[in-house]
């Protein structure tokens, strides 16, 4: 089984985001990057599936030189190989999905895992777009994954419950928190990862279908009112805010 895990190199969720000088992107100065948290669940599930069924796990990302840190982590966790598609330009989800789809196609992957969304641009549409470009089956926001032969059964999170879905290979699965508990890289894994080479590729030529005109910070709220007692608070919520 050829399994691809897409991993994205993103600002840590504890980062403060400031607007860059072009007014259209964020300022990367002083930002600490990590593997996208949802992609950790995706990679973990890829590794578990390989452990169960055999095969290989290829970690795939699009990004600059520094994205190699996330690929190294993927290798240390247990991925067999890693591919960096070198592209630092800012593209929309459709363009990113096309690049990923082209690479997944050339790898002839059977099964692809990705996080349900990247915690930078928060689109949560890349897995579905890739599946459409490749004509693969796709289930998103998955909290439970089972595979038997070529049949996959998943539980996907919806408002107030779950949908249990069935699909077959080749497939793309987008991972939600709760799917598994990602492993920590072992010392042995970290040492082995240092010896593995990261294959670098150039992206296929693609175009974004949307364009960012401006990036801005949310409005800062004016200071709130401090109530002195629960009675006062309840009264303010009733009479002033009119929310209860």
């Amino acid at each position: 089984m050829k399994i691809v895990a897409c991993v994205n190199h993103v600002p840590d969720t504890a980062s403060r985001i400031n607007i860059g000088p072009d007014g259209k992107s964020y300022d990367t100065n002083g930002i600490a990057y990590v593997m996208n948290p949802y992609d950790e669940f995706a990679l973990e599930e890829a590794l578990r599936t390989k452990e169960k069924l055999g095969g290989e796990v290829i970690a795939l990302t699009i990004g600059g030189e520094n994205a190699k840190e996330t690929l190294r982590k993927a290798l240390a966790m247990g991925a067999d190989s890693a591919i960096l598609i070198k592209d630092e330009s800012c593209k929309d989800s459709c363009a990113i999905a096309k690049i990923l789809a082209d690479e997944i196609k050339s790898l002839s992957a059977d099964l692809v895992f990705m996080g349900k969304q990247s915690v930078d641009y928060d689109n949560s549409i890349v897995p579905q777009l890739v599946s459409e470009y490749l004509n693969y089956n796709c289930a998103t926001v998955v909290v439970k994954f089972e595979i038997n032969d070529k049949t996959i059964k998943v539980e996907r999170e919806i408002e107030g419950g779950k949908e249990i879905m069935e699909l077959s290979l080749p497939a793309i699965i987008s991972a939600q928190k709760g799917l598994n508990e990602p492993r920590y890289p072992s010392m042995k894994g970290i040492m082995a990862a240092k010896k593995k080479t990261i294959e670098e590729k150039v992206p296929s030529s693609v175009e974004s279908l949307t364009e960012v005109i401006a990036m801005k910070k949310p409005e800062i709220k004016k200071a709130g009112k401090i109530a002195n007692s629960p009675e006062e608070l309840a009264k303010l919520l009733r009479e002033e805010a009119k929310v209860i």
Partner: protein, 321 residues
Amino acid sequence: MTKILTYIEQRNGEIKRASLEALSFSKKIANDLNGEVIAVSIGKSIKEVDKLKKFGASKFYFFKSDELNYYSPSAFSKLLSDFAIEINADILIFSNTALGKDLSPRVSAKLNAGIGVDCVNVNIVDGEIIYTRPIFAGKALIDCKFKTKTKVLTLRTNVFPLIENESSNFEVVEKEASNLDLRVKTIEEVKNTGKLDVAEADIIVSGGRGLKGPENFKMLEELAEVLGAAVGASRAVVDAGWRPHSEQVGQTGKTVSPSLYVAVGISGAIQHLAGMRSSKCIVAINKDKDAPIFQVADYGIVGDAFEIVPKLIEEIKKLKN
């Protein structure tokens, strides 16, 4: 004439409020663009379709099949994209619900359309759509435009107002859906037992590490009950296993914008604030007056949650009677 196709989501035949928000918005931009609003839904059955007229649809198409009682991404996306091509739709509007999030990009890909998801504001500037969406869970926002003729938008729920704007004409067309592509399909739907989901709640009461232990969430559940609220949680308490992940609010949980958000014993880590700062009214209860949660709060009370919350429950009960 600009054709706006609005997807109406139903579960067990009930039209979702979020779809009426999407319809209200569609009608509003239809007026700006001299357009027409066509509503469409897929499923086994649907009730109270007159609501769609009331919120501005001039036509409603219902693709019906007993096999479509549950969501099938492959079947729904094929039916919807074929229909969009057939009627020559210019703009497709979805709600950013679990279904809308899953379905809309599949449809946009089939139509070669650009897609803007989770929009919190949309304006028409010189006849062009400019949409605004939060990124980094709300730590920043971007304004974007489309480069494609066909455009797909999903709207964050609870943000766009319901506006009654009755359409002068209204036609309902039921179509038997056949040749379904059921390669990916739901075989069963499981409901969480009797609990309101934070993603859909109008009021949320959230707890953090300040509650000291999972057993103390009972107090929040009581507060939630008197308010008709859902219970939410910070990442710290979810990671500690006190509460399920489905309740987590924040950057690696759900982003919410209810009309009232009560944060109890939550200090307000940046990743939590990101997920709830767009709530209309925020109340913080925390013993540390310098906790960052107070920077986004409209109302606050500094003190021990174990003393404040039970009294607050009593006060609210009194007011409600």
